[in-house]
């Protein structure tokens, strides 16, 4: 067991600055309005730094810097850009513990997750896109004997990226890596709930990136996000968040005829067929862990397996084992490597989860475990902690239909394959899903029948680069985590070339 020393204390691995400005054109730039906002850690609820409160004026400055940098950056060779991404990855790899501490402290998530998942995945993601851009081919098509269509990939130019708070560093890298690989300059707005961990990352890697290629503007959505998302000076907007803001961003983009990619969440079904319980073996244990994944990152994951569908034949036994497993989850100080469940990212997130614990019970869902806020002792008393909670109920209930974004799973049972697919697809969303079975045919058929972009099959919450990630239905547009995202950051230039000396004959 290790308890990391909180940033700012003597002997801490890293510390945050007392104040963060915007990062524009390769330097810290104070906000035009002169205002800052406080940034609390959800671990204790106490502010630990202040952050530039950006406005449209700051966004314009960042766009100026990005536009100044974009042409030269876009002309660099794929090998040069890949080298930059690899160097960023190397620098991050030398600082995994520091970055993990930075992200856990700002977000409230257990440091075992940032050490084992967030930061290593971010590093690998950079290396993946470094490789992908080297390997990307243009196209040439022989139209006829004398006519050839050449297809070139070109960068879009300057793109806007709005980053969520649930994985502040990993989600920033998910978006930055393909955009930079493709040769774009970026204006990035971190979530106001987690505004500075990406600044800490930048403090480690700034010397590796040409000035103006990556610009960070902080602030509130309405004051800084909106001018960025609605700007005619960006060639594309990438957003991870929720449906209403996703629609609004599409509306803004429509004014300028710009593309968007959106990742808007889900209500992912986690389906356990009867044959999972045929033996109490490693696979059974893995499936039980798969159920417990609802508490990963305190449930603050767009693909949280927040609906567990358990077949009738093993429902009681499987569920009672799952409750026991949930009981064993260690909740507490996120900076303790033994902690499995940390703090929710913000007070309003905590309040929203509590409101769902309330409506769930009003609707008649039964609380099998958890169901309440956790008041921890000492310094953690002001933090935002919720018990891992299992509801049992019906798929029509709101706790089965809405993304709570907390450590809350809603469980129901199904009769057979058709019933499972019907319930799984009875949702507005289609981001993630999982199927657990020992039968390969059932696994295949269910995976194909579920309307979701990612169907984990006998696994959950794996996010390797080179496996496409994105939503069906209201869950969004685009596929991240895969080389196909490169094309979301590229234009296609077609040169249609005639090698014939003869006139066409019309005139």
């Amino acid at each position: 067991m290790t308890v990391f020393i909180a940033p700012g204390r003597p002997d801490a691995l890293m510390s945050y600055q007392p104040r963060y400005e915007h990062w524009i054109g390769g330097e810290a730039v104070a906000p035009a309005g002169g205002l800052y906002f406080e940034n609390p850690t959800p671990i204790t609820g106490q502010p630990f730094c202040e952050v530039a409160r950006g406005t449209a004026e700051d966004v314009e400055r960042a766009l100026d810097a990005a536009h100044a940098a974009a042409p030269a950056w876009g002309r660099t060779s794929p090998a040069e850009r890949a080298e930059v991404l690899n160097r960023i990855a190397d620098r991050m790899a030398m600082n995994v513990d520091r970055l993990a501490l930075a992200e856990s402290f700002e977000n409230g998530k257990p440091i075992r997750e940032t050490l084992a998942a967030d930061i290593p995945l971010a590093i690998d993601h950079l290396r993946y896109f470094a490789g992908a851009i080297r390997a990307q081919e243009g196209g040439l098509s022989q139209i006829d004997e004398d006519t050839v269509a050449y297809h070139f990939h070109e960068p879009l130019g300057v793109v806007a990226q709005i980053i969520p708070w649930n994985f502040p560093i990993l989600m920033a890298i998910w978006k930055l890596a393909p955009a930079l690989a493709a040769g774009n300059a970026v204006v990035l707005k971190p979530a106001e709930q987690t505004p500075v961990s990406v600044h800490y990352l930048m403090s480690l890697i700034a010397d590796l990136i040409p000035p103006g290629v990556v610009n960070i503007v902080n602030g509130f959505g309405v004051e800084a996000g909106k001018p960025l998302a609605s700007s005619g000076r960006v060639a594309k907007v990438a957003f991870t968040g929720e449906t209403t803001t996703g629609r609004l961003i599409m509306q803004y983009a429509s004014e300028h005829i710009k593309p968007v990619t959106l990742e808007l969440g889900g209500k992912s079904p986690n389906i356990f067929f009867d044959d999972v319980s045929r033996a109490r073996d490693d696979f059974y244990d893995k499936a039980q862990e798969g159920f417990a994944m609802f508490a990963l990152n305190q449930g603050e994951v767009c693909t949280c397996p927040s609906r567990a569908l358990i077949q009738r034949g093993h429902y009681g036994d499987f569920l009672s084992d799952a409750i026991a497993r949930t009981e064993r989850m260690k909740q507490g100080d996120p900076l303790d490597t033994e902690t499995m469940v940390g703090a929710q990212a913000s007070n309003d997130q905590l309040e929203k989860i509590l409101s769902y614990l309330d409506i769930g019970q009003s609707e008649g869902a039964k609380v099998l475990i958890g169901g309440e806020r956790v008041e921890l002792d000492g310094e953690l008393a002001g933090g935002y902690y919720v018990q891992p909670t299992i509801f049992e109920g019906d798929n029509a209930m709101r706790v089965f239909q809405e993304e709570i974004f907390g450590p809350v799973v809603a469980v129901t049972q199904f009769d057979d394959y058709d019933d499972a697919i019907r319930i799984a697809n009875d949702t507005l969303y289609g981001l993630g899903a999982a199927v657990w079975t020992r039968d390969g045919t059932t696994a295949y058929r269910a995976g194909r029948a579920i309307q979701a972009g990612r169907v984990w099959t006998n696994c959950y919450h794996l996010y390797p680069a080179h496996a496409a990630f994105g939503g069906y239905k209201a869950s969004g547009i685009g596929r991240e985590n895969h080389l196909m995202m490169l094309e979301h950051y590229q234009q296609t230039k077609n040169l249609l070339v005639s090698y014939s000396a003869k006139a066409m004959g019309f005139f």
Partner: protein
């Protein structure tokens, strides 16, 4: 659950909202005028109530920005929360339902409360109260810079309310 304060009223007449899109298929907006603040105990039922604290913030935002609207969000991160915008900022359409036209004391124009139609189908058995809590950010909602966040509190419609609102 926070009680609905006296600062808000709602009417839910059939006249079109500012965007011209109105639900005409039997959703909330046919129920006639209702005082939201009192609807829990008297008068015609409404789908949406507003706490006094939320109404105070709406008045502040109205004074600073002008007429307001809400669109209830679903999905990730800041989702499942009511987003407050300048009226007309978010373009509603045939995929949306107008749940209420909130009459807030000292706000001249009704505050339209919208939700996506498909989402509404899954929420229609519940009564919503717009409340406000200390918080940090959330989409492009207007109140976030004030250090607060609008929040929905829900309860089941009573049988009497359900009979009127969902008949």
């Amino acid at each position: 659950m926070a009680g609905a304060g006296p600062g808000a009223q709602a009417s839910a007449g059939p006249e079109p909202g500012p965007t011209g899109a109105v639900d005409r298929t039997g959703a909330a907006n046919r129920t006639g005028a209702a005082k939201v603040g009192a609807a829990d105990t008297a008068g015609a039922p409404a789908r949406v109530a507003v706490t006094e604290a939320a109404a105070v913030m709406m008045r502040k935002l109205y004074a600073a920005n002008g007429p307001l609207m809400f669109h209830q969000s679903g999905g990730c991160c800041d989702g499942s929360s009511p987003m407050c915008y300048l009226a007309g900022e978010f373009r509603t359409g045939a995929s949306d339902v107008l749940l209420a036209q909130l009459a807030i004391v000292d706000i001249t124009e009704p505050v339209m409360f919208w939700m996506g139609r498909e989402q509404f189908e899954r929420w229609r058995h519940t009564h919503l109260t717009v409340d406000i809590v200390p918080g940090r950010g959330g989409g492009f909602s207007l109140e976030a810079p004030e250090g607060v966040r609008f929040l929905i509190r829900s309860r089941l419609l009573t049988d009497a309310e359900d009979a009127v609102l969902n008949r």
